[in-house]
């Protein structure tokens, strides 16, 4: 079996699908959250990668980080307004404000606002182009469309950033997908193939968690995987947040021809991480 095809989001043949499911069942022994189970434990079958018609994606980001050397001038804003597509009809300033509060709630230390960039929003609010002092981010909010639609848009807007801000390098490329799973199976393990577990001996119920892993793959690709139970936690019907932020932190030129391929590789890594993180039963809920 070609292991790479198991992670493709193209349609799978029945035979490949069956082989992929068999592969995912092998050695996925993870135990259960049943604190009374002291015998042989079951396992959570990880999901097979495939297209999900109702994918639980709440936000997709394609992110380009540069050094924080770009200045924010009225001239740059004028140039952006002239070249950013008209569908991005709203422009907002992005600010950073920092303050520390004492125990009574009074401000103890405050630093005045500092502008970080401009945010261009589409009329329907679903797409955002952030032009910042330290890079560019393209955001797509629910409902997610298709990677094949979003990537060209992100690259076009990135070229606008390059022409206006003239960065000297790309320090980090990122593809991040935030998923909100309002339904999961089995609920006792939060629909995760590798759920967090309370030691059996404690006989305590798990009521909430935040897991964060930073992982590295060959070729310089890395990812931050974040899993959390959304508050307030209903143990019978938990809502799970699954955030996969795949990134490449080696320097590239702003017009490097490898950028699209790196982003594609990051997207594939993101897909692998997503499907490996959830159970097959959970994946079926979003077909």
């Amino acid at each position: 079996m070609n292991s790479e095809s198991a992670y493709s989001q193209q349609g799978e043949s029945d035979l490949q699908f069956s082989c992929a499911r068999l592969h995912s069942k092998v050695l996925r022994f993870t135990g259960t959250t049943d604190s009374n189970d002291t015998g042989l434990r079951g396992f959570n079958e990880m999901a097979v990668a495939r297209h999900l018609s109702n994918a639980p994606i709440t936000e997709a980001l394609i992110d380009f980080r540069t050094s924080a050397t770009q200045s924010l001038t009225p001239e740059r804003l004028d140039r952006l307004r002239a070249v950013v597509p008209n569908e991005y009809s709203t422009v907002e300033d992005i600010y950073r404000f920092e303050a520390a509060f004492d125990r009574t709630g009074r401000i103890q230390t405050a630093v005045p606002e500092t502008q970080l960039g401009w945010m261009f929003r589409s009329a329907d609010g679903r797409q955002v182009a952030q032009f910042r002092r330290d890079g560019f981010t393209f955001n797509r909010l629910r409902p997610y469309t298709r990677w094949e639609e979003l990537l060209p848009q992100a690259l076009e807007l990135w070229q606008i950033f390059v022409s206006v801000f003239e960065p000297t390098e790309v320090a980090r490329l990122g593809v991040r997908f935030i998923n909100r799973l309002p339904k999961v199976e089995p609920p006792g393990s939060y629909g995760l193939s590798e759920p967090p577990r309370v030691p059996v001996e404690l006989h305590w119920e798990l009521r909430g968690f935040l897991n964060r892993l930073v992982v590295v793959q060959e070729g310089g690709l890395s990812a931050t995987l974040t899993q959390a139970a959304e508050d307030p936690v209903n143990p019978d019907r938990p809502i799970v947040l699954l955030d996969v932020d795949a990134f490449y932190a080696e320097s590239l030129g702003p017009n490097d021809s490898e950028i699209p391929q790196v982003l594609q590789s990051l997207r594939e890594m993101k897909n692998r991480a997503f499907f490996a993180s959830i159970t097959e039963e959970t994946a079926r809920l979003y077909e």
């Binding site: 540069t66 050094s67 924080a68 920092e98 955001n139 320090a171 935030i178 964060r212 930073v214 974040t226």
Partner: protein, 180 residues
């Protein structure tokens, strides 16, 4: 075995709880950021885990207070740059908890200086400006290492490596793995 090879795996990424300069705009992205910040805050509030960060941030506040006005040193120094202060704050928050707490100062140009000074031959200095440029210089025995990095995501690996080498030259290679 060099100090570099025994560095903990997460050091190059600035720590699991370091600021990730969140670019998400959705409600769920904000929720996740809030959860991580809460964990980071609670970790900082723990004396065992947060001594480095707390002490360093406290020193930064003192330095900011002392260098708030023009000519704060009596020799025409510029006040601390707001941008440099914010960049330094991010840098110090991203320091791993088991790093020795640095000394903080402001230079006459208004930039923030972060320094680990053990002896005259075991020193690492990082100068932080408003744009996030991190100019570092390390004296490791007879060797001198210099470079410039940019603060994008946590503490850049070359600076972590340089710090590890300085610490190792003071305490021996095992110091880089103590407490893992």
């Amino acid at each position: 075995m060099s100090a570099t090879s025994v560095m903990p795996a997460f050091w190059p990424y600035g720590g699991l709880l370091a600021s990730d300069r969140n670019r998400a705009v959705s409600h769920e992205g904000d929720t996740l950021r809030r959860y991580v910040r809460q964990v980071r805050k609670e970790a900082r509030d723990s004396i065992t885990l947060s001594r480095t960060n707390i002490l360093a941030l406290r020193d930064l506040e003192e330095a900011r207070h002392d260098a708030a006005k023009p000519n704060w040193d009596g020799y025409g120094a510029r006040p601390i740059s707001l941008g440099a202060y914010l960049q330094a704050s991010d840098f110090l928050r991203a320091l791993p908890a088991d790093v020795p707490p640095p000394d903080i100062a402001v230079d006459p140009h208004g930039e923030v200086l972060v320094e680990w000074h053990f002896t005259s031959r075991q020193v690492l200095t990082v100068s932080i400006n408003a744009e996030g440029r991190l100019a570092y210089s390390a004296q490791i025995g007879l060797r001198k290492v210099r470079g410039t990095e940019w603060q994008v995501d946590g503490v850049p690996r070359p600076i972590i490596v340089a710090l590890g080498r300085v610490v190792a030259s003071v305490h021996g290679p095992s110091a880089a793995v103590r407490g893992r």
